[in-house]
Amino acid sequence: MKTDKKTAVALYYYMLRIRMIEEKIAQLYAEQQMRCPVHLCIGQEAIAVGVCANLLKKDYLLSNHRSHGHYLAKGGNLKQMLAEIYGKQTGCSRGKGGSMHLVDLQAGILGTTPIVAGIIPVATGVAFGTQMKKKDNVTAVFFGDAATEEGVFFESLNFASLKKLPILFVCENNFFSVYSPLAVRQPKERNNLALAQALGIKADKGDGNNVLEVYALAKKAVAAIRKGKGPYFLEFDTYRWREHCGPNFDNDLGYRTEKDFLEWKKRCPLDSFEGKLVRGNILNSLEINEFKQDIRFEIDQAVSFAKHSPYPQSREMLSDIYAD
């Protein structure tokens, strides 16, 4: 698969941007001003970027608790995201949602929620709604390996196939649900591709740490969906570097080994792709440093915006319970 230089550089840039933002959050978290859970996606950036590079602004995205990468890759507003994590009035959910409830309607991000798999039928309904309204938006939904164990995963795939809905299901398999490994949750014979295919849904699997592979598979899938061929299921293996929830590393807990972690770290989606681009003379270190400088500047501005934004008034606690 050949990807043009411009796309390749963009894929790198957006992965780098997500990595730097997540690391900034990890760094600032200790200040105790981001007073909500954060589920960082460091190590998993390639899936968000590779998939979203195939989506248009008008396309919809819904996701789970580990959604910073998806939100940013789809074009979600960084200032509003950070302000939301800081619980500020200027946050994307006006301080009522936090890191787990991101939204940016301008970017087609209709919401992220942390109930495992709970977002999958909602996304399926978005695709159903666009179909009923005869719109041509594609809907993409991200979820983890554990979500495929929930009943609504099956229910949603069944309905999406029944109605040939324009939806892309993306499973990010990072092998753990919090600290519970796949081995205690799924029989080793289990094959999600076969499950999807048994329901009449096209399915592919790829290396979630290889952004070009993700990009290529998603491109094929989104093209098929746009042609009206119905839903598509993609599964990518990847690895979460930091703790399940929070800014630190948690390999010391013993639920996974340091050796495994280091193995996966060697397969860093960002570093490996950077090496490829440099070796291929597509990018040089000067350009990379410029990228980093630009992103750092953007992040500093966003952090400043978030920190200096006002908190919501206490009476706002009781607003937005009902819509007018």
Binding site: S93, K96, L105, G129, V152, E155, Y322, A323
Partner: protein, 335 residues
């Protein structure tokens, strides 16, 4: 559905020949199979799908033939529908109506006749509607469909057999407003859905004995119209709440608590609840006959509160030749 193309109705049996006890018969022919559709037996997933469609401008009506079936979808209702508007800072809305039918009698039993209004009323973000009359059913349903929030619309199965004047034109009955259906000065009975019919009968019966009961039909459980209830108690000083559900932690308990908090000084005697016993509904008619409070129980409660002579006629299961597990004498079962 005629006025708004984004309204669609979905549920098991919506398009089958019986059309959810006749309530959806003919709709598919009129509005097409894209807007009137049956669905997979996947209550939770389909509720999420209805919610998702609402995010892009649809106004779904989801129908369940028994309230008990929809318990599978509590995750989507409570975690998503009820909170979406709030947790995303008011940026989106979920205009969805969930019609739930409550069974009663003819052996509906533990998993076909639960009354769960209190469960939904407990959740911020939901509205809960329980019509009592055919006229109200239409007006409240129109308001529910036009409302921009998730509305739980609970229909008592026995009310499907009642008759009443229903204008053919569209009209609305506002959500959150109770109705004084009988005026009286001696005692207030607050009721909803089927119990409103019972309360009216009690009021009519006792009027012959010179007792004037004020009957308030809640119509909407949530938001609760406590002002109308308080206003009535200012006049009567006495309160009985009849709720077709379990007593503990229920709607009747909530009304008593709110009145105790804000109008304790108006009460001439301790308020009373008339509810189901705290037990699942038994199936066999010998047991279920004694499960549901009867008109006589309400009468006895009124007499006790007014310190009148007790008339404790405990029904043996058949009153005036009609078994208590059917809505009326013409009913031959099954539901």
């Amino acid at each position: 559905m005629q006025d708004d193309r984004s309204v669609y109705i979905m549920g098991l049996g919506v398009t089958d020949p019986k059309g959810v006890f006749g309530t959806t018969v003919g709709l598919e022919k009129k509005f097409g199979s894209k807007r009137v559709l049956d669905m997979p037996v996947a209550e939770n997933g389909m509720t999420g799908i209805a919610i998702g469609s609402a995010l892009v401008g649809m106004r779904p009506i989801l129908t369940h033939q028994r309230i008990d079936f929809m318990l599978l979808s509590l995750d989507q209702i409570i975690n998503n529908a009820a909170k979406w508007h709030y947790m995303f800072g008011g940026k989106m809305k979920i205009p969805i109506v969930i019609r739930l039918l409550v069974g009663r009698g003819w052996g509906q039993g533990p998993q076909h006749s639960q009354s769960l209004q209190a469960l939904f009323a407990h959740i911020p973000g939901l509205k809960v509607v329980m019509p009592a009359t055919p006229y109200d059913a239409k007006g409240l349903l129109v308001s529910a469909i036009e409302d921009n929030n998730p509305v739980i619309f609970i229909e008592h199965r026995w009310l499907h057999n009642t008759l009443g004047n229903v204008p053919s034109e569209k009209y609305r009955i506002p959500l959150g407003k109770a109705k004084v259906v009988k005026e009286g000065k001696d005692l207030t009975i607050v009721s909803s859905s089927y119990t409103t019919l019972e309360a009216i009968k009690v009021a009519e019966l006792l009027k012959k004995y010179g007792i004037n009961i004020e009957v308030i039909d809640l119509r909407t459980i949530k938001p609760l119209d406590i002002d109308t209830i308080e206003k009535s108690i200012k006049k009567t000083g006495r309160l009985i709440v009849v709720d077709s559900a379990w007593g503990s932690f229920g709607v009747a308990a909530e009304i008593l608590a709110q009145i105790a908090e804000r109008a304790y000084h108006l009460l001439k005697s301790a308020p009373q609840r008339i509810t189901f016993p705290d037990a699942p509904t038994p199936t066999g008619w010998a047991l279920s006959n004694h499960y549901y409070p009867q008109i006589q129980d309400i009468v006895n409660s009124v007499r006790k509160m007014l310190k009148l002579n007790q008339q404790n006629q405990k029904h043996p299961g058949v009153v005036a030749g009609i078994p208590l597990d059917v809505p009326d004498a013409t009913f031959k079962g099954p539901f």
